[in-house]
């Protein structure tokens, strides 16, 4: 059981780290877009490369954050029934969901995704536009990679639920605390600094 926790924590750390790094692609995306808009208006540069870079960044951003979002429990759930169930039942449902929905779905996308990348690699596929980006297989390979991370996130969750269901009491509590620390609760969406202050900094007052 100890081992299961260590494995799931290790997976969690890797996935979260990659997710947090990939998240910065969002900022890069904004900067590239702005650069594109400005240069096109004033210097009339050919911007096919920039525009392709934009959706490259968008793809990197969402595909590497799928598993990260699962670990942080950011994926939407329909909670009407679930929240009235016993905790043990909820854990069982999570295990079944991982086994029958998440992992097979990831498996499918990875299986054909690798095929897809191989075709792009062997034909040396480049952008359809003459001035676009080359090495299409690189960006195409982010899809199977991202889904691999998602599958690993599924496995990490699965292991944790197994410990919670069958492990000794102290380990259960430990896993529960790890999970609680990860998930963000609804009322933390607005940072406390902005709430409950009588009023935001007034104007006319020098700061």
């Amino acid at each position: 059981m100890e081992l299961l926790i260590r494995v799931s924590d290790g997976l969690d750390r890797v996935i979260t780290k990659i997710g947090k790094i990939a998240a910065w692609a969002g900022l890069a995306l904004i900067l590239v877009t702005i650069f594109d808009v400005i240069t096109r208006r004033f210097f009339v540069l050919g911007s096919t490369k920039l525009q392709e870079a934009e959706w490259h960044l968008h793809t990197i951003l969402f595909v590497f954050c799928l598993g990260y979002a699962y670990l942080k429990d950011a994926h939407v759930r329909i909670d009407l029934v679930r929240e009235n169930l016993k905790e043990r039942t909820q854990w069982w449902l999570e295990i079944l969901g991982c086994l029958f929905f998440l992992l097979p779905f990831c498996g499918l996308v990875i299986w054909f995704g690798i095929d897809f990348v191989e075709r792009a690699y062997s034909t040396n596929e480049i952008s359809a536009s003459a001035t676009g980006l080359t090495h299409r297989w690189l960006i195409k390979s982010t899809i199977p990679l991202g889904f691999t991370l998602l599958a690993l996130a599924g496995i990490a969750t699965l292991l944790r639920k197994v410990v919670e269901l069958f492990g000794p009491e102290d380990l259960r509590r430990k896993v529960h605390e790890i999970e609680e620390a990860e998930v963000e609760h609804l009322d933390e969406i607005v940072p406390t600094v902005l709430r409950d202050q009588d009023s935001p900094p007034r104007n006319g007052e020098t700061r």
């Binding site: 997710g19 947090k20 990939a22 998240a23 910065w24 969002g26 900022l27 995306l29 904004i30 900067l31 590239v32 877009t33 702005i34 594109d36 808009v37 525009q51 934009e54 959706w55 960044l57 968008h58 793809t59 951003l61 969402f62 954050c65 799928l66 979002a69 699962y70 950011a74 994926h75 939407v76 759930r77 329909i78 029934v81 679930r82 909820q90 449902l93 969901g97 029958f100 929905f101 097979p104 779905f105 499918l108 996308v109 054909f112 897809f116 960006i139 899809i143 609804l186 009322d187 969406i189 607005v190 940072p191 902005l194 709430r195 009023s199 935001p200 007034r202 104007n203 006319g204 700061r207």
Partner: protein, 456 residues
């Protein structure tokens, strides 16, 4: 005639999805898993072959990854998150509150205006209602506002976001319907502001008639000199308003594509945070990571829905739906009402993301072919339908007893707020919504006139 299992398989697929979603497992993966499972069932019945799953890859690639339209979404999410976390939103609320302190129901009106402005920047009902509730409800309760009035105002203003552009839902609808995002944005402007206007009018009339529902703020709230007020307006009110108009304007006047406008919005939000001296590395990191999580969630559902609707289509789902509808023998109006009713019902349980991604691809081809005669020109039917859908969804999120937004609100409201009060407070707003929906249905020009004038 023997029961044709293969023919009805898509129907079972829908039913299975409906039931399994209530397991509480993330929607994204239930969609993907059900699609996959029915693909395998289809293989057993010789209606599907394994290699057809390969097309899923090209759909993910071509439809989601290599899409410049969808690239706008992470940037709009970033813009909304940045405005919220850098305190621009709460400053705006405070400023409005001071400006409207002498007007009956001033605080409620401030919430509506803030909803209208900020609406433009958030895309997800849950998140925007939660944000508005946390920012405004404690304040309204402290000022002895009538609780049903306060909760009704917040829930209805907080859900305006899906309708008022730049809304993420409209971007996704445009992508699914293969129409222009700009057109859809412009079409949503008048209906969106119409609803906001209805809310404000209602609040104003109600609070003049029964002033004790909404006690006025003390006179000494905020700066008292004209100069102080002007400075506050300049700092808190003008910048976010300017940003939203910049984003909308650049699309309206054809300076930028919606995707580029989203980039402008994102950069503008960073700039505002710098201006307010609220931008630190930790705020930026927080915003970046939060936006990434929201984006991961949204595109997760997108990926799952792609799998689901692909298998649904291969199994003959489109054909089955068209068949069933033809058997009902409904005219265009009957059909429109049936679809609206269905969407309204789904809105009790699901957020717009699931509904739009599952229902729209099935019905869009049918609706596009409907002929409303002189009521709506044929080529504009799709835009009209999209706007009706948007208003309809917003209404269903607010309708007790299941309204999606109301549960989110209850989740973060102070404990003294009871769900009955929330239900009671929302009823007048739901009625206003229905009037709005009826108006757009009866007068399609409310949605179609502005794009015709501005974009053609």
């Amino acid at each position: 005639m023997a029961f044709d299992l293969v023919y009805y398989l898509p129907l079972f697929m829908f039913a299975a999805l409906g039931i399994l979603l209530f397991s509480g497992y993330p929607v994204a993966f239930v969609l993907g898993g059900v699609g996959l499972t029915f693909g395998f069932i289809g293989m057993m019945l010789d209606a599907f072959s394994f290699i057809q799953f390969f097309s899923l890859q090209s759909r993910i690639w071509g439809g989601i990854a290599e899409s410049l339209v969808l690239t706008a979404i992470p940037m709009f999410i970033f813009m909304g998150t940045m405005l919220e976390r850098s305190g621009v939103a709460s400053d705006l609320l405070h400023c409005l509150q001071v400006l409207l302190r002498r007007v009956p129901g001033g605080l409620a009106l401030s919430v509506t205006i803030m909803g209208t402005v900020m609406a433009a920047t958030t895309g997800i009902i849950g998140a925007s209602v939660v944000m508005m509730t946390l920012l405004a409800l404690p304040e309204m309760i402290k000022r002895n506002y009538n609780i049903p009035l306060a909760t009704g105002t917040i829930a209805s203003s907080g859900t305006l976001g899906i309708l008022i552009p730049p809304s993420i839902m409209l971007v996704i609808m445009a992508e699914l319907l293969a129409r222009s995002v700009g057109n859809l944005f412009v079409a949503a402007i008048i209906p969106g502001f119409l609803l906001a206007g209805f809310y404000m009018l209602y609040i104003l009339i109600l609070c003049s008639w029964k002033p004790k529902l909404a006690p006025p703020l003390p006179e000494d709230e905020g700066p008292s000199t004209a100069g102080g007020i002007a400075a506050m307006v300049l700092r808190s009110f003008i910048p976010p308003l300017f940003l939203v108009f910049l984003v909308l304007g650049s699309i309206l006047f054809g300076w930028a594509t919606p995707t580029e406008a989203a980039g402008v919005g994102g950069a503008g939000a960073i700039f505002l945070a710098i201006l307010k001296r609220r931008l630190s590395f930790s705020v930026l990191k927080d915003v970046v990571e939060r936006s990434a999580l929201t984006g991961g969630m949204l595109f997760g559902i997108f990926l799952g829905a792609t799998c689901f609707s692909y298998v649904f289509r291969v199994l003959g789902g489109d054909f089955l739906v068209t068949d069933l509808i033809e058997h009902m023998g409904l005219g265009p109006w009957g059909l429109l009402l049936v679809i609206m009713g269905l969407v309204f019902f789904l809105g009790f349980f699901f957020d717009w993301i699931e509904i739009t991604l599952i229902v729209l691809p099935v019905f869009a081809p049918i609706v596009a072919g409907l002929d409303f005669g002189d009521h709506v020109p044929q080529r504009e039917v799709v835009y009209w339908f999209a706007i009706l859908l948007a208003v309809n969804l917003q209404t269903s999120f607010l309708t007790p007893p299941f309204g999606f937004a109301l549960f989110y609100m209850k989740g973060v409201a102070p404990p003294e707020v009871r769900i009955q009060q929330i239900y009671k407070g929302i009823i007048p707003f739901v009625l206003l919504q229905l009037v709005g929906l009826g108006l757009v249905m009866a007068f399609p020009d409310l949605a179609l006139w502005l794009p015709r004038v501005l974009l053609n």
